[in-house]
Subunit: 469 residues, 2 copies
Amino acid sequence: MPVPTQATLDKVLAHVDATLPQARDTLFDLLRIPSISAQPAHAADCQRAAAWWRDQLTGLGFEATVRPTAGHPVVVGHFAGPGDYTGPHILFYGHYDVQPVDPLDLWHSPPFDPQLVDGPHGKRYVARGAVDDKGQTLMFLEALRAWHSTGGGIPARITVLIEGEEEVGSVNLDPFLTANKQELAVADVALISDTGMWDVNTPAVSTRLRGMTYAEVTLKAANRDLHSGIYGGSALNPINALTKILGDLHDENGRIQLPGFYDRVVPVSNAQRAQWDSMGFDEKAFLGSIGLAHPVGERGYSALERLWARPTADINGIWGGYTGAGSKTVIASEASAKVSFRLVPNQDPGEVFEQFQRFVTERLPPDATATFAEYARAPGIEVNVDSPHVRAALDALGEEYAKPAVLMGCGGSIPVVTSLKSILGVDSLLVGFGLDDDQVHSPNEKFEEACYHHGIRSHVRLLAKFAGG
Amino acid sequence: MPVPTQATLDKVLAHVDATLPQARDTLFDLLRIPSISAQPAHAADCQRAAAWWRDQLTGLGFEATVRPTAGHPVVVGHFAGPGDYTGPHILFYGHYDVQPVDPLDLWHSPPFDPQLVDGPHGKRYVARGAVDDKGQTLMFLEALRAWHSTGGGIPARITVLIEGEEEVGSVNLDPFLTANKQELAVADVALISDTGMWDVNTPAVSTRLRGMTYAEVTLKAANRDLHSGIYGGSALNPINALTKILGDLHDENGRIQLPGFYDRVVPVSNAQRAQWDSMGFDEKAFLGSIGLAHPVGERGYSALERLWARPTADINGIWGGYTGAGSKTVIASEASAKVSFRLVPNQDPGEVFEQFQRFVTERLPPDATATFAEYARAPGIEVNVDSPHVRAALDALGEEYAKPAVLMGCGGSIPVVTSLKSILGVDSLLVGFGLDDDQVHSPNEKFEEACYHHGIRSHVRLLAKFAGG
């Protein structure tokens, strides 16, 4: 098969435009399946959603199967592509499961009865899963369909992997990837559509994800709870000690005081900083929406640097002593806290856990002991923006939107990106079309038709790029 | 009636010695009534204990009644004393209620089946309430009985007030005192037997009690819980802020950093310090029994000063964010703590509450708000050791034990002391015979017969002192 010509591409894009109502109907079909992974009552719906995906892929010429796991099944489909294909083998990852819908009474329409409603950006789709991740994944499916229906067929080598437990921590995905490594590790790049755009008119590739070290610490002192009248002034209070230690996590400039914590932190490039600065991020509005007005974090960095490219330390939970109504004059025997660090690329999560242990241990008063647990260890990820895959995505998006796509960071982690890299050795390309106001995980989740439409067209273009067009 | 002579006193003391078995039986009688004030199932037992006290007092010539309250009743008995009595009107306070007995399986004998067993100091009584407060109150009753049975009758003007809710916070006592102020405020001194000796051979008068300010603080930041990946590095974390503020409560020398906190603190006198120093308090053993080895508290003060005569700040409880199993990457919208201050005489509890509010408020980061609740406000108490009542007690105890009684402090509060002072205007005299190892509130509570016996004799002597003998 020859490399797609501009004329072929135009024909496929025209087909996308002409069949948008059908593409919408297909999405609505999937949205009607209440595939809530967290609720055992919806296990059969998860099976139905998996079968739906298998059937769609089979209909496009994929060799697709529903594969059991210890939880909800995974759908895997393979498409070999043209015999003379020399582009990258694409592993498209997504998930068919959705979040629960409560509080149900805040929905303006039933969550699994998708609605087409008017909004400031034109039509929008309202349903649970509209954007996360059914809408986002179906853009790729519809792009495949457009190539399949016209333009001479799907022009690339593709594996599709759709899981059903993303909303419940993907607990069975790593074992699945490990068990099927030979089959899946042949991919050259993973394409994931689960992130956002900068705004409705500005496409984005997410190239940075923060990693994480999540620790729990428990300080113990006396061998039992004590009366503060009898022992106060002589016996160590572990809550006093814990607040003193954790109160020391940041200095007055918001810098984290773990020795060595910043040693491996690489500053963002001047070019990256300039691009972010040019994006006009409105931190006042960002904080205003949650009732805050004053940024915290490291002094001397822009908001986007602090959110995307600087590490953080947050106490996510703390507890100890008497926490009921009224008063109890107790000196508790122990106190605990959960402390997590958002990490940037090149920081070593295990090293940070050790730095935190050392930070606490060195500050322990005599008589106190500290025990630690570690709940998460994920490195930050930075995509090489000079890679041909990122270039292809930036070009495809830039052409579709007639303006350059921006390189965004993401302050959180996307665990599957780590799994794909560590288990399969495959880098991810994050091209998403969500907007900040899409109400992900909340009532009245929505997806803009403009995003859906441009997203399908962008994937059409990206497939052409991969095929060398 | 003439002032008791030494011969009369000797006769009464001899009667105490001769009738000790009967005095023990009387105590055992009362110990068999399971008057657990906390448990509604034992309400009738509380009534029985009150009636028991009324009958005992009536038997000694008192005009005694069981008086209802919103909870368990109060017993009040009056004895006018000799017509020519010129000593102080004594208000004897005690309580007939006891703590619950669980964990029951740790008792070596049924808690309401009093046992006479051997111990290192001779016989001891084992039962719930053996010392707290049935044993302690019955020493006074038996002293009255000894005067009544011999020696020409009870030599003083006495009001007895026995409540039934001391173990549940005495919630109905203040209203009772207020409602019966005219009847009760005629007393010149309150005599309370609910404290301890220095050791089994060394009697003590407790002359200092610490007071308390008990505050709760809640810091609020964002208007909802936040995802730490999306907002970490920009949004204020109220748990981070709370630990930073409370971690600052003490300086590196253990001094409390509330501005003005020490302004009203009066150092103990050199004489008092010398007496405490001479007592050879073994802080190593004190801490060793709870698994600790290193004293905390203000540097530069002896253990007894830190425990009895210096104020403290203890975080009694702290909570916020996610405290369940595993991890949740949340930035909570609020965090709370309960913080109490043990105060010394002359500190103003209300002022300390304001100092704490100011301490927190001045350290609040922008965007945080703090709300406060106050659960306790009690001043520290210092008895004037030069008062004739304290002198009488020291003399009586010194003669009974043939060694000087010591002046002890008490690190906790005894709320009734504050109530008697603030409502009735009556100072308290704390003369108790408990030992540190009496297992108060715990399984196998005990009272040494030596303490009971010397205690009765001490009260006999004290009554003679008050009568001018």
